[in-house]
């Protein structure tokens, strides 16, 4: 059996620095969601590098700080692909690398509709020490996180995750509904989950001057997510649910900052999840790489 390596302060520092140091960037107009997805895909040829952090409280155990880096690439105008690296620090325990994910989002309809579907397919190779809580599936509950890292990191799973994303934009508001079905590839039942989100920019018109604190740069909203049990026991019971106000700040200096304070809605949920993220979009990344290999710029 393989085990993921531990990494220390230097590793975490380098992990955090990943998004920095790219010369060409675009001013983003990113949604504030951390768990839910809307129907907007990455622009073709752009690479968005993101770092996210989650601080979670843990009853009966040690609080934790989970983090992940995302590399989101717009392969075409209808297909976005993302690669994730996940890790976590459990206080008074250790820091471990917890897995990788490869997700793909495909927009089957070419035009904008009242409800816009996006198909999502993800492969995950993760250890049981994974705590990023990027989704809640099946009967995921707070007590699943009690095992010490030394023990949890030895168990791994390969998982396939499918989502149907239904998203609408109306009068500046975005409404999105994600339904999730996940399958551990080692003969476990299908598990289900959901995420709902709504958001709106604080101003709909752009201002004539560039500014950092203009209201249109801020997008506020809320997301709610949780499990729906599994194939044998479907429903909202014996699983966890969260409600989180979310805020994104799209800076003219090419960065997007996101903040979310999540509250557990039942006794099986973590009481509090504080999440934040920083991202930067690199324009023309595809052309830049193609040029490196002798293609046209």
């Amino acid at each position: 059996m393989t085990s993921f390596p531990r990494f220390g302060v230097l590793g975490r520092f380098l992990f955090f620095l990943l998004p920095f140091g790219f010369p060409s960037a675009a001013r983003a107009q990113e949604n504030p969601y951390i768990v839910a997805y809307d129907h907007n895909l990455e622009e073709p040829g752009h690479l968005e590098i993101e770092y996210f952090s989650t601080f979670g409280t843990q009853r009966g155990g040690n609080d934790f700080h989970a983090f992940w880096a995302e590399f989101e690439y717009g392969a075409t105008a209808w297909w976005t692909t993302e690669f994730y690296l996940d890790g976590q620090t459990t206080f008074h325990d250790s820091t471990v690398f917890t897995g990788v994910r490869w997700e793909n989002r495909i927009r089957p309809l070419q035009r904008e509709h009242l409800i816009n579907p996006v198909l999502y397919v993800e492969y995950e190779h993760k250890s049981s020490a994974d705590k990023i809580l990027k989704e809640v599936e099946g009967h995921d509950v707070e007590s699943d996180f009690l095992a010490p890292n030394a023990e949890a990191r030895k168990e791994h799973s390969n998982e396939m995750e499918l989502k149907l994303i239904l998203s609408s934009t109306l009068k500046g508001w975005n409404f999105t509904e994600n339904t999730l079905a996940a399958k551990n590839l080692s003969n476990a039942p299908w598990e289900f989950g959901y995420a709902l989100g709504t958001s709106r920019p604080l101003a709909l018109k752009a201002s004539a001057q560039r500014c950092s604190f203009c209201r249109q740069n801020f997008i506020a909203g809320a997301e709610m997510y949780g499990g729906l049990g599994d194939r044998h026991s479907f429903g909202l019971h014996n699983t966890s649910h969260y409600l989180a106000p979310v805020l994104a700040w799209n800076l003219p200096s090419d960065w997007t900052l996101r903040l979310s304070a999540g509250f557990g809605l039942n006794d099986q949920s973590h009481r509090f999840l504080l999440r934040w993220g920083v991202s930067r979009e690199i324009t023309g990344f595809g052309s830049m790489v193609a040029h490196l290999f002798g293609g046209p710029r």
Partner: protein, 155 residues
């Protein structure tokens, strides 16, 4: 060790597949001679969409705000001057400049996804109208004569 190999393989596969596919689609289709395919999409705008007038037409801030938005979201493909780049056609041709504002708004809202133009519905409606105002303000690009007269003086 196996985890490292798996991670590196997955990364290489991720980059290879997405870049190869992305570049394949963006390849020759986006050369200037194929702009007609993109322009043809403007004609597909429904009559109801074409009939919409720009609610910000008389807003003095619409053009400068639209310019900011254009620089942020559009200039990479259509060039800073809107005269077209390697990925996007000129917005200063008669096909765009003579089009109804509502048709341009419809293209911004729906994109031309198969030709690489993303859907811009993530920009709120007023911002899309500000973009329309700016694109219309660019005006027609000066036409270049096919056989420019020689500038060399002959004795």
């Amino acid at each position: 060790m196996r985890a490292c190999v798996a991670t590196l393989s997955a990364t290489a596969m991720f980059l290879g597949v997405s870049l190869a596919f992305g570049e394949q689609e963006k390849g020759p289709r986006y050369k200037y001679q194929n702009d007609a395919l993109v322009y043809a999409e403007i004609a597909k705008a429904p009559a109801k969409a074409r009939a919409k007038s720009n609610p910000l037409e008389k807003d003095p801030d619409a053009i400068p705000a639209g310019r900011n938005l254009f620089e942020q979201h559009c200039s990479e493909c259509h060039s800073d001057t809107g005269e077209g780049g390697k990925k996007g056609p000129s917005l200063r041709g008669p096909q765009v400049q003579n089009a109804a504002p509502g048709a341009i708004f419809w293209i911004l809202t729906n994109g031309v996804v198969r030709r690489g133009m993303p859907v811009w519905s993530k920009l709120p409606e007023p911002q899309r109208w500000q973009l329309v105002s700016y694109i219309k303000s660019l005006g027609l690009a000066p036409t270049r004569p096919e056989n420019p007269p020689s500038t060399t003086a002959k004795p």
